[in-house]
Structure formats: structure tokens, C-alpha cells
Symmetry: C2
Subunit: 343 residues, 2 copies
DNA sequence: TTGAAAGCGCTACCAT
DNA sequence: ATGGTAGCGCTTTCAA
């Protein structure tokens, strides 16, 4: 017993029972003092409160959750936690949720999707809601959540879609269309696109925007003007390497990473940006301001989308039956040096 | 009833009771089939399992947590979720923890620290453990956790320290000392340091490393050779602007952000890196490979630290009374173009 | 080899 | 204006 506190000593937590006993009231009343859900005489109230203070009482959230059948926790599901676009949005959402009494747990959705039962694990913990960010839930995932009556919203998307749930998105195809059209106006010859791989929905959306712009202005798109690579600097480099046999004058990229790789590769080959090749990116990552020339890009306003997701989810939790909302945000074009937008 | 399922329909979750009834066994046995904590006859076992499958039974984790008085959830506390150094470490830790059945919740510790009661909120949810990353817990925070018997570990530190708990760290002062000493060997005149503001512990540690190197080689440090600024590109720019009245030949920086700002500013002033000024950074962020010249910097191996934190925490959860561990990792010097390390 | 039953700490329905 | 008490869904003695 003289040994420094053994874990066996188990400082048993103070329970509501303890408080009630000490204050000479019933658990019921103590509970109502705490929650304020029922009138309690001023005097009793004070008494209970001071006992709570004295005993340093803290309600056991797990017990509350068991009764309430919900944990006041929101699961934020993203493809890759370490991805910048994910984290800025999470921060905003988490801050807002915390102010409303919700904890946020982050789930890094594995490459295999949810087949592994990961989502089931999430659901087993009875979250109050789920936010999917940057990816639409697969049908099976949506079904699972519906079945378990777990409200969810989806944000960070690149297009509206037909799912029967709340979404926040920017029209990424339109943004790419716009930037491509501007480029076409002052780029006379070869115009190319380097995008993310086909399995990513955002990548497909952006390619669609590019295709539309080309078709509207020049007719058919030549498939050798399109390169699909991983969303990495290395991907951008290798795509640009392929393109350099017949150097383009404008390269629209599906991500800043790719654009940066493309720029570096072109520069190594002795080409000047933007004089010889204009390049645009997508995301507005920090490095886009640092690279020289700085990168003209598109900002999908993910932080704002994160906040909006959180707000929408809270609404959905309160009114589970209201009609699904679709919120569109205008993507922001960031004009820098790698591509000029004025004629 | 033809209306699409109202939430009022409340598909009541399948409970262990339901399974037991259907399988004609007691709740006890059903429970033991699930947990495997007691022998159950092969036949009964099969019967119960198939009923579970049939009813799609899923154990209610909240109820389990209430009994177990712990949630198999780990809280990961960082200064700023959106910070790269935080997220790479979180990803590794979260992945490892998930494999061991733990969920991870992220807590963005506010500027005011935990005075706000945030940590208490975390504790109220009965986490199985807490990881502090990039900051030592304040004494009050440590006390609170100890009192609630919540195990915790601390990682991402810049130095060992005296706290009576598990830590993972790199010797950041030594790393800066080393890089400064190398620079001093081939930099004949003005050697400066641009670091983060004084309120950050890492910033103080790094400045100390610089000071020690200078004192070991040239005696006293001239205070006008040290600039303290926020950890941002802008901070680096303005610090370099101050220094340019008498251009340094070597600038050691407390972060890559700062170093990048410093490089950009110097280049705008017509100075060449590294010919006129050598510059080093700290962190090894992605942009350090992208900037030209690429940035020589120090990698504190945060992802590994994150994993180690997770491992240590799991050990601590199992053996709460074992002696505190101190794990030191060697920081990695990344030699790139902005400063050469060979003579 | 299996069950009955007592809780974990809280909330809310009935009472009075 | 306040209490008694029955659970929420699970685990775990104790008993058979």
C-alpha cells in the first residue's frame, strides 16, 4: 500500500448515485439538475450543484450513450488522412462539431473500400452521423448506414450526382472547362491534359471538363493528348516526358501535384513556363505558391465544404426526414504565373 | 406503410438476447460464443454462430464499453490537425491502432491549451489511452489523465525531458547543431538563424542547437543574427528581409516554411542560393523537394514516431505499471541543393 | 457444459 | 417539486 498507486487502487469514478446520496436527493433529481430537462427547486439545485463540484462529478458519457443509443460522435471518412485536402476540411468540420458537443473520429478508408467491414466497425460504435469527404459512398455503404439509421452527408465532391442524400460539391468539370477555354483562346497549337487515374471519380470529372472544352472549340479530342497518371509529382513528370516528343503549348492538369511534376520536367528539358508551355493545376496546395513560376490553379474550397458538411449533418441529425440538400460552391480560380487567364 | 421507410419504423437493432432466444441458449452462452472466453460445446457454438449470421447480429460496442469501462478508442491530440507533421504521424498511428481494434479520435488542441476543459471532455468519453503529439502535456493535463487512470504517451518531441511518462523524440538540438557545424566549416562570414517564435518549445530547442554550435566554434552569438518569426513562408520572407542589409552566407532555419520564405526573398533580392547564401530547413515537407534549389533539411521521422507512439501506448494499456520508456530516433539529414553538407 | 441474475451509470416513464 | 424503478445491451460472477 506504500507502493506508488497501484492500478488496482481503482479510484472508482464518482457516479450520479454518489452525488444524489450526498445531496440527499434522488438520482432522478440529480440527473435533472444536470440536464436541466425538468424543473428543480432553486435550493435543491444549488445543493446538488455544489455537491457535484465538491466531488468533482463528471457524467459518464458512455452510459449516456448507451441510453441515448447514440454517442455524439461523428465519423469523418476520407480516402487518405494525410492528404492536405482532407485535413483542412476536417479541421473546420471538427471545430464546428466540437462546439456543438460532438467528438470527431477520423477514418482512413482503405483502398479496398469498405468491403473489409470497416464501415460496419464504424457503425458498431453508434456514431451520431457520418461525413464522407471526397468520395461518394458505395451503394453498399449507403445501404448499411440507412439500415442502421445513421445519418450521413457527403462533401468534397466534384459534381452533383443522383444519390438520395445531402451533398456539398463544386462543379469541377465547369472549372476545368473554363480554364481550358481561356487557355485555348491564346494557345494556338497542342493542348493536353494530364489527369489522375481513371478509378478516381474526381479524375474522370475533370477529364470530362477538359474534353467538353476541346470539343466545343476544336471538335474531337486526340487521345494522345491525354495522359492519365497517379496524383503525384512523379506522375506529372512521366506524363510530361511522354508529351515532350511534340511539346504542347498548354497543359491542363488534374492536380497541383501533377502540374508541379509537369513543370519541373518541362523546365529540365529547357522549356520555359509559361512562354513555351502554359500549365494549370487543381487544388491550390501550398506548394503551388512556392514553385517558380507559381502555379495557376483551381481551389475547390474544401475547408468551407468541410464546415458545410458539418452543418448539414447536424441538421440531418435533427430532422432525419427532411428532403436531401445539394449545396454547390463556386470553385475559385487562382491566377498565378504558370498560365495567364486574361487574354 | 408504402411511404419509403420512415425513421419512426426504428429497425430495432438485433441484441444478444434475440440471438440467444432464437438459438435456444442463454445470453451467457451466446456471449461466450462471441468472445470465446469460455468453452462452449461445438454444436451449440455452431448453432449460435449461424443464428448470429442469420440475424446479422452486431455487438453493441457502447454497451460493451460501459461494462468494460473503456471504449477501445485512442485520442490523438495535436496542436493543429491540418499541419502536415501531425497528419502523417496520425495516419500511421491510426492504421496500427485500428488493426488492434482501436478507433482513433483526433483532437485539435486549441491555442488556449486545455484550460477550456477540452481534455476533460476527452476523458469523459473514457478513451483507452491518449497520445500527445508534438507537445508535452501541461502538468495539469498530465495530472488529470493520471487521476482518471487514462494511460498516455507523448511523441514528436524535440528533446528528452523529465516527465514521468513514455516519450518518443528526436534530438532536434543535435540535428541543428550538426547542420550548423557543417555549414560553419565552409561559410566564412555571417551565419544566421531564423526560428519559430519563442512560445513554441520546438522553436526554443532548435535555437539552442544553433547557439551551441556557434558558441562552440566562434564564441558568443550576436543577437542580430537571430530572427524569431511565425512558422510560415511569410515569416521567412520578412526575417530574410531584415537580414539582407548585411547579407548572410548561411541561414539555418527552424522550419521548411521559414526556409522557403527566406529563399524566395533572397532570390528576389538577386542573391543566389547556395552560391551566395546557403539555407537549411527543418521538417522535410513536400515543398522542400519542389522549390528550386531544393531544400536541404532535417526529417524528424514523424510517421515513425506516430507508429511508435501507438505501440508504446498499447503496451502501456496492457501494463500500466511498467517503467516509463524513452525512445529516441535519429533525425535524418536530407542533403539537397540549398546547402551542401560535404566539405 | 450451461444459466440466472446482478450490475456498468444514466435517463425517463409513472407516480405522488 | 421530487422519487422509485425499469431498462439501454453487454459481461461475469456464482451456481448447477
Amino acid at each position: 500500500m506504500t507502493k506508488s498507486s497501484r492500478s488496482g487502487l481503482q479510484q472508482k469514478r464518482v457516479t450520479l448515485r454518489d452525488v444524489a446520496d450526498r445531496a440527499g436527493v434522488s438520482e432522478t433529481t440529480a440527473s435533472h439538475v444536470m440536464t436541466g430537462r425538468r424543473y428543480v427547486a432553486e435550493a435543491t439545485q444549488q445543493r446538488v450543484l455544489s455537491v457535484m463540484e465538491e466531488l468533482k462529478y463528471r457524467p459518464n458519457q458512455v452510459a449516456r450513450s448507451l441510453r441515448a443509443r447514440s454517442t455524439s460522435t461523428v465519423a469523418f471518412i476520407v480516402k487518405d488522412i494525410a492528404n492536405v485536402s482532407a485535413t483542412t476540411s476536417i479541421r473546420e468540420a471538427a471545430a464546428l462539431l466540437r462546439r456543438r458537443g460532438f467528438a470527431t473520429t477520423m477514418v482512413d478508408s482503405p483502398d479496398e473500400g469498405f468491403s473489409s467491414g470497416l464501415l460496419q466497425q464504424v457503425v458498431d460504435r453508434l456514431p451520431s452521423g457520418v461525413i464522407f469527404f471526397g468520395q461518394d459512398p458505395e451503394p453498399a455503404a449507403a445501404r448499411l448506414l440507412r439500415q442502421a439509421s445513421v445519418p450521413f452527408v457527403v462533401g468534397g465532391l466534384g459534381a452533383a450526382h443522383t444519390g438520395d442524400w445531402d451533398i456539398v460539391y463544386t462543379d469541377q468539370a465547369a472549372a476545368i472547362r473554363r480554364i481550358t477555354a481561356v487557355g485555348l483562346a491564346h494557345s494556338q497549337s497542342r493542348v493536353c491534359f494530364i489527369g489522375g487515374n481513371w478509378d478516381d471519380e474526381g479524375a474522370r470529372t475533370r477529364l470530362k471538363g477538359f474534353t467538353q472544352a476541346i470539343e466545343a472549340s476544336r471538335g474531337a479530342l486526340n487521345s494522345r493528348d491525354v495522359q492519365l497518371v497517379p496524383y503525384t509529382v512523379e506522375g506529372g513528370r512521366s506524363a510530361m516526358a511522354n508529351l515532350l516528343s511534340d511539346p504542347p503549348t498548354l497543359v491542363v492538369c488534374g492536380s497541383d501535384q501533377i502540374a508541379i511534376g509537369a513543370i519541373l520536367k518541362a523546365q529540365e528539358a529547357g522549356l520555359r513556363i509559361p512562354q513555351d508551355i502554359e500549365v494549370s493545376g487543381f487544388d491550390n496546395v501550398e506548394a503551388s505558391e512556392i514553385i517558380r513560376p507559381s502555379l495557376t490553379t483551381i481551389d475547390a474550397r474544401l475547408a468551407e465544404q468541410g464546415m458545410i458538411c458539418a452543418e448539414m449533418l447536424l441538421q440531418r441529425i435533427e430532422l432525419p426526414e427532411s428532403a436531401a440538400q445539394r449545396r454547390e460552391l463556386e470553385p475559385r480560380v487562382m491566377e498565378r504565373q504558370s498560365m495567364r487567364l486574361s487574354p
